[in-house]
């Protein structure tokens, strides 16, 4: 009996790995980053040497570290050449993207979709429709990135929870940094300057997440956000007025503390609901940003050249400028040191309680990684449709490419035909721009996208 027990124990020990092995895959200039991702297993690190890489990189594996090596100040550049839509797309939990320079993409430069526990750190992004765009994720860090020239938000956090946006610099964008329909977000220590608008905490209708709350905007430099709006006319961002330092649009329990907000021509801080801006089209969404706290901030020379409609609002109020403009519907909101600020629309606001501060908030991230199963293939297909396809295709109208309705008609019952086309498009009509190849997507993803379009999509 004793011998048998010994044998069993030994067998058990042999079966137990003593350590787990994560590979490091090197990518040299001229090689394909996507090829390395395809080779990688969950937990691997992909080190990309300085050079220029003209591709889209799609990551849908778990815990991949994609790191651009910075050698003597030189980085790995991802260059879309003005032709490719997306730079880096990630749908795997635990992804880390750092050290890259990304430019020349028409859509998303760095995007995560449905990825939790992500890190996007120390990247440089230039141009694109969205700069850094984490969406549908929890527990993320977006830190020490530099973003410029983006036609919407430089960092656009969408429908995400528990995210720190720390120490980034954003300039020359339409919106510097934005948290949209997101909860528990800390925007701290960012240098946001020379955008159309500085920082936004926003809530929009018509999205799956119906609220935005607990946004802390603290210790940022928000300076001279007065440039002319250059967003495409079709974009909702084209309606963003120039000259606002911090905008709270519908987001509840937002706190603005210890920021230096200076030389923003319209106003330092604007707080408004969705109804005033005609954005309250979904009645499940509570349009009023209750619980706003404007604590101690430093305001220098804001509101000296306000634009419409704020210019007229200031005039009607009898003031010549305003540090804080509110629509006036907010409940349970407060301002600290009211006598030292010029306010409009805040008659129902109170003085904040003595001692009100966000000092105890160290991070908005979770103590432990968020535990979630990997995305299934159907979710990946839908997320890919949303992040990649809707940049050029709308459901029932033609934009850059034909409508989804016409694609459904053309490829009805033929998902393989649609996959074949998406992988290697051929120009069929003169009135459409060339469609970039989507062959960086795996056959499984392409198949899932095709089935989603042909079998499920109704709007």
């Amino acid at each position: 009996m004793k011998l048998k027990k010994v044998r069993l124990i030994t067998f058990g020990l042999l079966m137990t790995p003593l350590f787990s092995y994560a590979a490091v895959i090197h990518v040299s200039n001229g090689e394909s980053i996507q090829a390395a991702v395809n080779k990688a297993s969950s937990g691997d690190t992909i080190l990309v040497a300085p050079g220029t890489y003209r591709e889209t990189v799609y990551i849908d594996k778990e815990n991949i570290t994609l790191q651009g090596e910075i050698i003597k100040g030189k980085r790995a550049w991802l260059d879309g050449g003005g032709k490719l839509n997306d730079g880096i797309l990630a749908a795997g939990n635990g992804v880390s993207i750092s050290g890259f320079a990304v430019k020349g993409y028409k859509g998303n430069s760095i995007m995560t979709q449905g990825a939790n526990n992500y890190r996007i750190v120390d990247n440089y992004v230039q141009g694109g429709f969205y700069g850094i765009f984490p969406q549908f994720g929890r527990n993320g860090l977006v830190a020490r990135n530099r973003i410029t020239g983006v036609e919407d938000a430089g960092i656009y956090l969408g429908m995400s929870d528990n995210v720190d946006m720390i120490g980034n610099e954003a300039w020359g964008n339409v919106i510097g940094i934005e948290a949209e329909n997101s909860r528990n977000v800390l925007m701290e220590g960012n240098f946001i300057h020379d955008n159309v608008e500085g920082i936004a905490a926003s809530l929009f209708s018509g999205l799956p997440i119906k609220d935005a709350k607990n946004i802390t905007i603290r210790g940022n430099f928000v300076v001279k956000n007065n440039i002319k709006n250059f967003a495409p006319a079709s974009s909702i961002a084209s309606s963003v007025p120039s000259g606002i330092g911090v905008l709270i649009l519908g987001a509840k329990n937002s706190t603005v503390e210890n920021n230096i907000i200076s030389e923003n021509n319209t106003s330092a801080i604007v707080v408004t609901d969705l109804v005033t801006f005609g954005l309250a089209t979904d009645s499940k969404v509570d349009p009023i940003p209750d619980g706003v706290q404007i604590l101690e901030n430093t305001y220098v020379n804001n509101g000296t050249k306000p634009v419409a409609p704020f210019k007229e609002m200031i005039h009607v109020s009898g003031n010549t400028s305003a540090d804080i403009i509110a629509s006036g519907k907010e409940r349970t909101s407060c301002i600290k040191h009211r006598t030292s600020t010029v306010e409009i629309g805040t008659k129902k606001w109170n003085e904040c309680e003595i001692g009100a501060t966000t000092a105890s908030l160290k991070t908005a991230m979770l103590d432990q990684p968020y535990v979630s199963p990997p995305l299934n293939i159907e979710q990946k297909g839908r997320l890919t449709y949303l992040s990649v396809c809707t940049g050029c295709h709308a459901f029932n109208t033609q934009i850059h490419g034909p409508s989804i309705l016409s694609i459904k008609a053309l490829y009805a019952g033929d998902p393989d035909g649609l996959v074949k086309y998406i992988s290697n498009p051929v120009k069929k009509r003169k009135d459409f721009a060339d469609m970039p190849k989507q062959d960086y997507l795996s056959p499984e993803i392409l198949n899932s996208v095709a089935h989603y379009i042909l079998d499920e999509l109704k709007n």
Binding site: G107, G114, G345, L383, S387, Q398, I399, N459
Partner: protein, 333 residues
């Protein structure tokens, strides 16, 4: 003014919103030159003046169709041009332009991003309706601006015509001016109760910023007054509930949401009902009354099955936003 009253009460599903957009100039000559392209092929534009209004009534029932409402707008406009001194015909024509504008506004609200051929089509129809509306407004102002019903319609038209596709300052200023005009109308001595004016006034009080006189409590007061005059208007019920929820009176809002369950649409009201029921079930969900929300949703579902041409107002995806929830595949509303 019996016909006018019924027209106005039927057209009280108005979506006034203040939004930023580019400034569009209305060029009536250019717009009218392209009018045939905007019409359905069976739009009977060649009918004799005496028959135009009957034809208009037929097309005006299709409140879900921008094409049919464009036809209705043009038929009524032609009828008004043939009878420039007839107040009722001109009022009906102005209401028709407004209904088209309101439908176009609501279609724009379905999309976060405005691009493509569908958007260009909306812009064309918008120009068309505002060109007609400008002429009709001017005529009615001269004929009968002191009549409270006509005065209310003129204000309502201005709000519809500046809700979208104009400079945001114009939208805000129009709403501010409208609020003052309507307050004067409802406070006139010895005039008949005007629930439409009170409904619009209530909505403006809800939407205007404080500096322009916006006030949630005033909104509740106006809307309750509208309800006391006409408790059968589904839009009044919806907005009463909405205002009460904004005023943190969630329990009080439930009465109005419940009353919406017992109303049935008249001819041409199905789209309005479908839209207000959608808003209502969202409001009920927001205040945590799941059972009520489900009842309102069920009523709407029945209506949509009964009238399959109605617009369902589902969010459409664009540039990585909107559309069905990609995590579940289900619609977001």
């Amino acid at each position: 003014m019996k016909n006018t009253d019924s027209l106005l009460s039927g057209s009280s599903a108005k979506y006034f919103s203040l939004i930023f957009a580019a400034l569009f100039l209305v060029s009536p000559e250019l717009v009218l030159a392209s009018v045939p392209d905007l019409m359905p092929k069976d739009c009977p534009l060649a009918k004799a003046p005496a028959q135009l209004m009957a034809a208009y009534m037929q097309f005006s029932e299709h409140k879900y169709s921008p094409v049919d409402l464009t036809c209705a707008a043009q038929l009524s406009f032609k009828a008004a041009e043939a009878k420039p001194g007839d107040i009722e015909t001109n009022v009906a024509a102005l209401a028709a332009q407004m209904e088209l504008l309101d439908l176009l506004s609501s279609i724009l609200d379905e999309h976060l991003y405005q691009e493509g051929e569908a958007y260009q089509d909306i812009k064309q129809r918008w120009k068309f309706a505002t060109a007609n509306g400008k002429k009709l407004s001017s005529r009615l102002s001269k004929m009968s601006a002191t009549d409270p019903i006509v005065g209310t319609l003129l204000v309502a038209y201005q709000l519809s015509a500046t809700a979208k596709l104009v400079d945001p300052q114009v939208t805000l200023q129009t709403a501010h001016d409208a609020s003052k005009t309507l307050q004067e109308i409802v406070n006139r001595p010895n005039t008949e109760p005007n629930d439409l004016a009170l409904l619009i006034l209530g909505r403006l009080s809800l939407s205007l910023p404080e500096v322009y006189g916006g006030d949630v409590d005033n909104a509740v007061t106006y809307l309750k007054q509208a309800y006391s005059i006409n408790s059968q208007n589904i839009s009044t019920l919806r907005w009463c509930a909405d205002a009460l929820i904004s005023a943190n009176q969630n329990d009080a809002s439930k009465q109005f949401l419940n009353e919406m369950l017992s109303l049935q649409p008249q001819v041409g009201e199905a789209q309005q009902f479908a839209d207000e029921l959608k808003a209502a079930y969202g409001l009920a969900a927001r205040i945590g009354d799941t059972a009520l929300s489900e009842k309102l949703r069920a009523n709407r579902t029945t209506l949509l099955k009964q009238y399959p041409n109605l617009r369902t107002r589902q969010s459409v995806a664009g540039f990585g936003h909107g559309g069905p929830d990609p995590m579940t595949g289900k619609d977001t509303d």
